[in-house]
Assembly symmetry: C2
Homo-oligomer: 362 residues x 2
């Protein structure tokens, strides 16, 4: 399928206008746009502008509050719990991360659990907010259930990503941003668009058997936890996804496990929800709460250089540092623009018409 | 191979005597024994009494200091860095975890990075120290390099485990304790003892090709990060192992990556080490720094019950909660004793003779 390329600036103007139209403030529209489009810049296309219509549909269904009163409901010197007031996760999350950073400034580290929120875009954006403060940043979120625990055929967990950003000196930062599944759901969506099979080990069918049908989730199949099967450590991916769920939603009063609210607005809300909305968890650790920041960064440069130069299996494929592929994609896309699928462009064109936006590039 | 079973009490008396003989204090001998044998109780046989001779050899080679002056070298209200003074990790680690817990009592959470230490037994023991305080406990450690990053044939990381213990109410606690590799090295040792092949996806040979030879590490093979290969997310296991390495050793001034000191005393120390000894990282988060502890525990019970009852693939294998298998093994072994391989027993008998311990069960 032929993609069409748009400049970051084109998408930025449009996206911000959409958030303004649904009633977000000027500042919050800007924040939500930055967060959402950071996914397109970094090559995580499933979490960027392709989801904009989805967020608007949640707002239409009154599942998203465009003017949330985000508040701290409980705190200690190093922790806080935040109620997102059903706001856009794209706005609630950077807010919460700022609280974590402020606490780290005061007492060395800050840890914030957030409930009553919605999807927050890519975890990496929030974790990376800590970098310019010479802090390590951590971000995670639960999500609606698509993943079956080891030995189960039932979807109990979201793809529950974890991002950890660690500053370096002359080298670019170390940025891990990973779903706790073998493959992120966005990769399945891509395979479906291209009519391709998924590798064995990514998904199972409703009976718990291996499947390569990228659309298997539509027939009650499930994504598999990182590790794929018991013999290859799927119980570890399941445990990691569970920790994300508990830190994000059980600590905060969010809705957890199979009760996490769905992203598609047409999917009914789960019954008997034990909490409100999605949950997130953020951490910030000041480097100099442990060691002089300059000293740490020199060692990080040494760490990164040594790993980049580890003997490769093939001479043409050197070892990558977490964050390398996304950073390289961002450099290209800032220059050459962001390619979008025809179906995404069509979606955005319809959205523009519905919200009476007269000037747009689609 | 026929194993012989010993009571916990028998192994406890013997192990403590060994630590006393090498010069540990009464209190530290008791702590080291508790930590070491918790592995045997929980069924992680590779990390328990089978390693006792290894610890003694490190002491003989002056790589372990039996009377360390463990000290905090830097701190903030929520963080500390500890220099383990080349002590037994079995002693240094519980010490550091206590500091994390004390800080959590004061400001909500506590985070401690430890350098200049040695192997600390099972990560789960230390994380679980937080449970009785109504805190979430976190423990991780780096270790000597046995794991090749994605795309590499070089061993750059240890099996770098992460343990996270989360209190519940009426249900037993959630206790994740996992190597960040597809399979822990102890599982390979077991296969070697039994002359069995390893499954594809656990190890690679020195050329980076799949191998099923459980002894492949002796010929410069490597363990694979959780995920096994790029297509199944090995870059995620590699990233997780890297985070453990950085939090444990780069933050603390320990020796990291391929420079982490080896456990076998006959393996020469790496050249140009960038820091001292192994590193660990500990965290404690007070539940009520986020939410009333009773409320949280009720939701954890709900979480655990719901997951335990997730539809199983096979009726005979229900879904497990992290920590279930270890807890069940501990219940059995406390009653029926701890089975040891003949080679382990022979090792311990020789150790007893060498250290002139006249009364012992081997």
């Amino acid at each position: 399928m032929n993609k069409t390329t748009f400049s970051y600036r084109q998408l930025e103007i449009f996206t911000k206008e959409i958030f303004l139209k649904i009633g977000c403030s000027e500042a919050e529209s800007k924040t939500a746009t930055d967060v959402l489009l950071s996914a397109d810049l970094r090559g995580i296309d499933s979490h960027g502008i392709a989801r904009l219509t989805g967020y608007v549909r949640l707002w239409e269904n009154k599942r998203v509050n465009a003017n949330p009163q985000i508040k701290i409901t409980h705190e200690t010197p190093s922790t806080a719990v935040i109620d997102g007031d059903a706001g856009l996760g794209l706005v609630v999350a950077p807010n919460a991360m700022k609280v974590a950073i402020a606490k780290a400034r005061n007492v060395g580290t800050g840890w914030v659990s957030v409930g009553n929120s919605n999807h927050f875009g890519i975890a990496g954006y929030h974790a990376m907010m800590a970098l310019e403060e010479d802090m390590i940043g951590i971000a995670m979120t639960n999500a609606s259930a698509l993943v079956a625990p080891t030995f189960s055929v039932e979807r109990m967990l979201g793809t529950n990503p974890i991002a950890i950003a660690i500053p370096a000196g002359k080298q670019p930062a170390f940025v891990m941003d990973m779903a706790t599944t073998t493959a992120a759901n966005g990769k399945l969506e891509l395979l479906q668009r291209e009519n391709k099979d998924a590798p064995v080990g990514w998904i199972q069918d409703k009976y718990g058997e291996n499947s390569q049908n990228a659309a298997e989730l539509k027939d009650n199949g499930a994504l598999l936890p990182l590790g794929s099967d018991r013999e290859h450590g799927s119980h570890k991916g399941y445990a990691l996804g569970s920790v994300v769920d508990i830190f994000s939603a059980v600590l905060s009063g969010g809705s957890y496990g199979p009760w996490a609210p769905p992203f598609p607005a047409y999917v009914p809300m789960p019954e008997n929800m034990p909490g409100k909305g999605l949950g997130h968890f953020f951490g910030a650790m000041r480097i100099d709460a442990f060691r002089k920041a300059d000293e740490f960064k020199e060692h990080m440069d040494n760490w990164i250089t040594r790993f980049r130069n580890a003997s490769p299996k093939n001479k043409n494929q050197h070892v990558l540092i977490p964050g390398d592929p996304e950073r390289e994609t961002e450099a290209i896309r800032r220059k050459e623009g962001i390619p979008l699928f025809p179906s995404v462009i069509e979606d955005l064109r319809i959205l523009a018409e519905k919200l009476h936006i007269s000037t747009h590039p689609f």
